[in-house]
Symmetry: D2
Subunit: 370 residues, 4 copies
Amino acid sequence: MFGNTFGRLFRVTTCGESYGGGLAVIADGVPAGIRLTNEMIQEELDKRKPGQSELDSPRKEADIAKIFAGIGQEGLTTGAPVGIIVHNVDMHAIHVEQYRKVKHLFRPGHAEYTFFVKYGEHYDWCGAGRASGRETVGRVAGGAVAKQVLLRENIEVLAYVKESFGIKARDMGFDEVKKNYRKNPLNCPDLAAAEKMIAKILKIKEEGDTCGGVVEIIARGVPAGLGEPVFDKLSATIAHGLMSIGAVKGVEIGAGFGVARLKGSECNDPPYIKNGQIRFRTNNAGGFLGGITNGEDLVIRMAVKPTPTISIAQDSIDKSTMKEERLAAITRRDVTICPRIYPVAEAMVRIAVLDALFMWKGWEALQKKS
Amino acid sequence: MFGNTFGRLFRVTTCGESYGGGLAVIADGVPAGIRLTNEMIQEELDKRKPGQSELDSPRKEADIAKIFAGIGQEGLTTGAPVGIIVHNVDMHAIHVEQYRKVKHLFRPGHAEYTFFVKYGEHYDWCGAGRASGRETVGRVAGGAVAKQVLLRENIEVLAYVKESFGIKARDMGFDEVKKNYRKNPLNCPDLAAAEKMIAKILKIKEEGDTCGGVVEIIARGVPAGLGEPVFDKLSATIAHGLMSIGAVKGVEIGAGFGVARLKGSECNDPPYIKNGQIRFRTNNAGGFLGGITNGEDLVIRMAVKPTPTISIAQDSIDKSTMKEERLAAITRRDVTICPRIYPVAEAMVRIAVLDALFMWKGWEALQKKS
Amino acid sequence: MFGNTFGRLFRVTTCGESYGGGLAVIADGVPAGIRLTNEMIQEELDKRKPGQSELDSPRKEADIAKIFAGIGQEGLTTGAPVGIIVHNVDMHAIHVEQYRKVKHLFRPGHAEYTFFVKYGEHYDWCGAGRASGRETVGRVAGGAVAKQVLLRENIEVLAYVKESFGIKARDMGFDEVKKNYRKNPLNCPDLAAAEKMIAKILKIKEEGDTCGGVVEIIARGVPAGLGEPVFDKLSATIAHGLMSIGAVKGVEIGAGFGVARLKGSECNDPPYIKNGQIRFRTNNAGGFLGGITNGEDLVIRMAVKPTPTISIAQDSIDKSTMKEERLAAITRRDVTICPRIYPVAEAMVRIAVLDALFMWKGWEALQKKS
Amino acid sequence: MFGNTFGRLFRVTTCGESYGGGLAVIADGVPAGIRLTNEMIQEELDKRKPGQSELDSPRKEADIAKIFAGIGQEGLTTGAPVGIIVHNVDMHAIHVEQYRKVKHLFRPGHAEYTFFVKYGEHYDWCGAGRASGRETVGRVAGGAVAKQVLLRENIEVLAYVKESFGIKARDMGFDEVKKNYRKNPLNCPDLAAAEKMIAKILKIKEEGDTCGGVVEIIARGVPAGLGEPVFDKLSATIAHGLMSIGAVKGVEIGAGFGVARLKGSECNDPPYIKNGQIRFRTNNAGGFLGGITNGEDLVIRMAVKPTPTISIAQDSIDKSTMKEERLAAITRRDVTICPRIYPVAEAMVRIAVLDALFMWKGWEALQKKS
């Protein structure tokens, strides 16, 4: 497993799993002079905390972030890598035994199987280690560091639930989204659509089933010119980051897959001049031309699959005998991961944008602002 | 511009543009002992040649690939990086003058604008340099090298047009696709659908407009276990590679954005045993669990936007005056890029798969086969 | 500061400083199935502990290593990144105030000045943060992980003091070095020379001065074939790793700078056959031909400068006034860093060798041994 | 072979060997707006041309550099990667046959053996491919691109022969070196010492033997603050680059290995104020503190081993029979590589310095100067 680092100049390296001592992130490339507190990290981590509503797993995770490196005596960053750790709370033994009982059976739709193929019998069967959503603690903590640097540059990134099991939120601009997106447990700023979504989700929950959805990310204030052609376009590194989140099966930008049904004359965003700046009348491009930012809002969506763990018995394989078996219902899980995955999406986009900004501005310029 | 390298252990670095001396690729990480000829590279390059049908730009590109490095006296690779160059054919002067005349006007939907923002007035306005589709010559040549290594491992990758302006090909397995996908100029193996697509495209062409579509890539024979969690999952590096292709606005895997409308009980692919191996009854996962290959065919789709250059006048900006202007019709271009972009998709997936295979197997094992 | 990661496939990322919460390392690329305990890490960390003899700083660092990630329920690695943290012990306040008092004066020969230039006034003046030798805790912990993987492959790496203020140890083979190198506080296996070195060092200590030396690293059991031409030769990545250690001003391999005084007929190591294998009668090459290992012991030396902190007043600059000042004597420091830097050298060579081994063997082969 | 790229933001990727079609470099990360001509590249390549004096191999290499990518219609860089190719001149067949006759015998001291181990029987035995000094054509061409960017920043890098078979040039400052270093075929600015060196070298040549030496590199105008702690200090990336050059067995900075014989009070460079800037009275540090540049000249030396090919019969191994054999005298080679390796050293230092400068300044600032 070599792939636990994301970014080039702003670079996040993570480790940790559900049933070890804790999870950590090292964020490298943080300019000196930025105020960074445990509370700033905690605010982001709390967004992905389970048990916040009846949509989530009832599991309790009291994730307390502690910055242990990279902060000077005045509480500001020093230019050194920032280290953050989240200790796992105990009550271990019971859960380990629960996992041990079923560790011979692969859960359908779960990465446990491929981890077994790749890492062999010593893979982490207990909560499935790095294949668990718990892995994203490190991403979110790293993204919280990026957030503070981006805020100094007036760049804001937010993510929200755009679609849930076929019900779509209407299209809204950045300001309306920002105003409303935290107003319900689903994190959907179209409050009317959210009600319908939640009713539908609860019905699926009653069936013992799960569902997925679409999360949209909007970034405002990103300057034109970010991204490195031809392979490291910012659109490509963002797609890399988002597709690396467990459960994500698709990423699209601007009009996305809709471009397959547009004519060129419809798809091209007409440019015009506003306050002496070039702007675009529409945003089918989602803020990117040739993978380089064009000054408009970045608009990106990702498809999130239904939680694979369900309360319905399924076909499985017993890995010790290599025989087909049935896996009984499992009851504790999120009926939909969407309302907990959005802060992860925010984190990945923040990291990718900051990384690209570094290439453009350099260390000296980003630091001078302090 | 720092982003002209893709891959980590099998690594492709490209350069070149339409109106310089030529385009080149350096493919690093090629095991010794593989037969590699100019013809093998040419075969792939010819797939992206324009002027093959009435769907393409009438421009003629006699792209002749020449391997100039990395091949020993017996015609086999030596373990050294393989260098391939494609010289641009002449008739330069006329085109340069054509471009010079309109270089003050940004073409809507084109990356020229962001290249100007990023690189300033010295950006390559002549054919727009690396923002031109011609850049993909290097990708395709690099992918042709990867193809030969993958063939020794019995890994096949093919791409075809799945959807064109709203008309979809029916779902087909690898074998049927392979048999039929080169039978029409659109590279669509559903021959009946292809006819409708072509009729529609020609109609759009008459209107002076353009259209996009969806390209699907299938990879067969990819062993289970490839991809590096958590950030460098193979699904993520493939998304990176495909999204880096100009005109691509979305990437999805398996059921893709369709997962947003599936329940967990529908989306999970039930495992079973076939010849002592674990297989899956469906492939909503598109061959990936947790971003690691699961032994099934990889199934990936990308959304391709309509060619931005159209034969209809559009709003534009004069960059020298920063005033709004009209850009007159431009006549020479592909009505749809889909039938020429599929070899680029094949190339990117091949490079990403071979790169992941190297991490898994190591240099010694991949080379021993020779 | 973006440079806190070393290695490509086996990759170590570190953070932490003297006066924050602690220091940590994330070691990525660890195969599953390896037994790894806190004690194994501790053993290496203890080698660099100060206060072990009158040669070292009297400062006490009770560095307790704790693995918090990457280990499964059976105490074996899982293939996930290994996280290790070393908490800083308290008694902070006093030292912080000591540093605060002199923070306006640059210490000659110390990196504090360049850190100030690079990171500005918010650089970590308290113990000088990442410019302190304390930074190497993370390197040594990461190297301890590499050590366990290498031991399974029968690769041993050891480092010792070869020269101290002009007194040289005689040349010895791997076995004699291994037998004796931990027998004195200087870590010099030539026991007679060590006595003279120590006497000399103590005399310099009395003068309030400091001195440097040369550390030699020998690696046994490294298979032929490691290293990636032309830029990532193993000799080059090792030089990178060693030169990145604070206080190191030179790296040489085999005959090293001595080659400048050899003829080709003397410098070439004559090959012969031993047990059907090609071996070399001499080892001027230090185990490398063309930067690729040739099967002989790797022999590498690095030059270590005298500790810059001395008990003699020196010229300095007051950074707040930009005026020339005198910096009074500082009493607490190592008179020579050599006996504490050797485990860092071992760590860097282990990381570089394991990284190259991964490229050669691949993940699958290295893991299978478990 | 994956290691054919050097640098991170300014990045050079090379390919090619003696008996293929040619050698090439792709230089990525070149700001737009820089004048770059074939002549500028040629000037650097000519420095490493053989046959310039009786010290060199009589082989003729008419290396003509041709930039084929990355230059716009006005002759300025466009921000796209710069591609440069040097075609091999013909007369192939004769040499190939000469190599074929002796390809079963390993040349002592030559990388051919390890290339055989690594790449197997299909390694490039004809001139030994990438293990040949001819590989450096790509490095020098890439360094020539870096040179033009650095000149705009008033950074000058030069290398010269400091020592040859035990005869040392006296210490000289940058200006004296610059004035005299190209005045003799050895490239040694101490004209008196050079005479003695040349006499000695010619005597060794008569014996049929070869010799090595030491090359010193000085860089003037490098701003303070470059280099990324803790692993990617500029001193470390330069050591990486220089040690990757074939025949180099050691790298040292400032006082180098001499620090082992200095006391702290002698080794520390006393700071003072000159024109409001901090400067240092001596330069034992060689321009680096903590691996970050301190504003003084960079002073770096590398040890160059004697050419392994000699006119004296030596022990060898027949690789087809794995029996010990004698290898007869070979007559055509450089008696010392020093006068041809110095431009390679210049190139590597330029690339590493520019790469570090990019991280510090960012793309935007470096480009604006144009």
